[in-house]
């Protein structure tokens, strides 16, 4: 029977369809892997980022395809809602990759409230801290839209949630 570590290493190959630079492990949506030695089944628990996230079904399908490609059979993907996903679960490596990709990573922890006026989001392109919010809602539920006042480029901010 395949080990839990091995399953996690395969999951590293499954990316978020909307932010392809992140694996689903970087994103922190994989909550657990349960291996049943007796029935030889693998259950992967994932949690949605936002309730209406349209990528969820695709992620579940991609997880199954990846497992089949690696020769792991009898895989099920279960969606759990609690505890609710938070950007605190995003890995440091994931945040670094986001920034390199041109999306500013979450700037604070979910339990420390910073009003939108006080939040400083550095521009992922020129690193300037002189930026302003255009819209709290962006191209996907998890992002908001910013503009850099120095290099004048618009950019996405992966908002703290």
């Amino acid at each position: 029977m395949v080990s839990k570590e091995k399953i996690y290493s395969y999951l590293e190959n499954v990316s978020d369809p909307e932010v392809p630079v992140l694996s689903i492990l970087d994103l922190g949506i994989v909550r657990d892997v349960i291996i049943n030695e007796v029935n030889e089944t693998v259950e992967i628990l994932i949690t949605p980022t936002y309730s209406g996230c349209p990528a969820m079904q695709m992620i579940a399908m991609n997880v199954k395809i990846e497992m089949l490609a690696q020769g792991v059979k009898n895989v099920s993907v279960t969606e759990i809602l609690s505890p609710a996903w938070t950007t605190d679960w995003m890995t440091e490596n994931g945040k670094r990759k986001l920034n390199e990709y041109g999306i500013a990573p979450p700037q604070n922890k979910s339990n420390e409230y910073i009003s939108i006026e006080d939040l400083i989001v550095p521009c992922p392109i020129c690193q300037s801290k002189n930026t302003s919010v255009i819209s709290e809602f962006g191209s996907t539920a998890c992002k908001s839209l910013y503009r850099c006042n120095d290099c004048l480029e618009p950019f996405d901010y992966f908002k703290c949630h």
Binding site: S51, G52, S82, P83, A84, F137
Partner: protein
């Protein structure tokens, strides 16, 4: 099987679905691109919450039911959403007024539902509350921006609040199912929510330099949705929402 619980879940799911569906009508029609995107995002969050709820109801009912059974194969009288949510979008101020009243309600409602004795509903509330916090900020900011804006935007915002106000009371008038659920600790006590709700709305209205709707003093409100007695608008929403499944039952992508 707990019939009352299914009925209660259906009421919550219908609220989210119909609100989400109405907001989705703004997609491609928003006054500016950012608002268009915001309203579509909020629509998606609501439809997502509705899916979680319908899925839960389907699991309790069993019998081959799925999350799709309820939105696509029920008729008007079986929908239990509040009337407020089926009203047409109207102008932008109308939609924002409806959002303010409902987002504020949902904010306090989900905060309380997190403590439900039903773990699944508590989990859905925990998830949705994080999203509703954004919705409420969006609608509150727009009420202030329009109210404290030009003469025209102020007038439109004031009219919109007055028109939608008389539909908001229904949110706090418990149906028999809700009373039963409150009794069991599954649903939050609506009476307790009403005061904080009204106070929060009053603060926003004041910040927007608007006045409180006159009908507030009379205390009368439109109702019926929770019992399945709807305005004529719901039938048109369902015609749009259900025509594909009604024409080709159980068709899949």
């Amino acid at each position: 099987m707990n019939n009352s619980l299914v009925e209660y879940i259906m009421h919550l799911a219908d609220n989210s679905l119909i609100h989400g569906h109405r907001l989705s009508e703004w997609c491609g029609h928003g006054p500016i691109l950012e608002v268009d995107i915001a309203l579509s995002n909020i629509a998606l969050d609501n439809i997502g919450a509705a899916r979680s709820l319908y899925e839960y109801a389907a699991e309790i009912e069993g019998n081959g039911k799925t999350e799709d059974t309820y939105p696509y194969f029920r008729d008007v009288r079986q929908f239990k959403n509040s009337l407020l949510l089926e009203l047409p979008n109207g102008n932008f101020a109308d939609t924002i007024a409806k959002c303010l009243l409902f987002d504020t309600y949902q904010f306090y409602f989900y905060t309380a539902l997190k403590n439900s004795t039903d773990n699944r509903l508590a989990a859905i509330a925990e998830k949705s509350l994080k999203e509703v916090t954004y919705h409420l900020r969006f609608s509150s900011e727009w009420v202030v921006r329009l109210g404290d804006g030009t003469d025209e935007s102020k007038q439109k915002m004031q009219n919109a609040i007055a028109e939608h106000w008389e539909y908001a009371g229904e949110l706090f008038a418990p149906s028999n199912i809700e009373l039963e659920m409150i009794e069991q600790g599954i649903a939050p006590n609506l009476d307790a929510l009403k005061d904080v709700w009204q106070q929060k709305i009053a603060e926003t209205i004041e910040e927007a330099t608007l006045s409180f709707p006159l009908s507030n003093e009379k205390g009368w409100f439109q109702s019926g949705g929770k019992k399945g007695i709807h305005t004529e608008y719901l039938g048109f929403i369902l015609a749009d929402l259900q025509y594909m499944q009604k024409t080709y039952p159980n068709s899949e992508w």
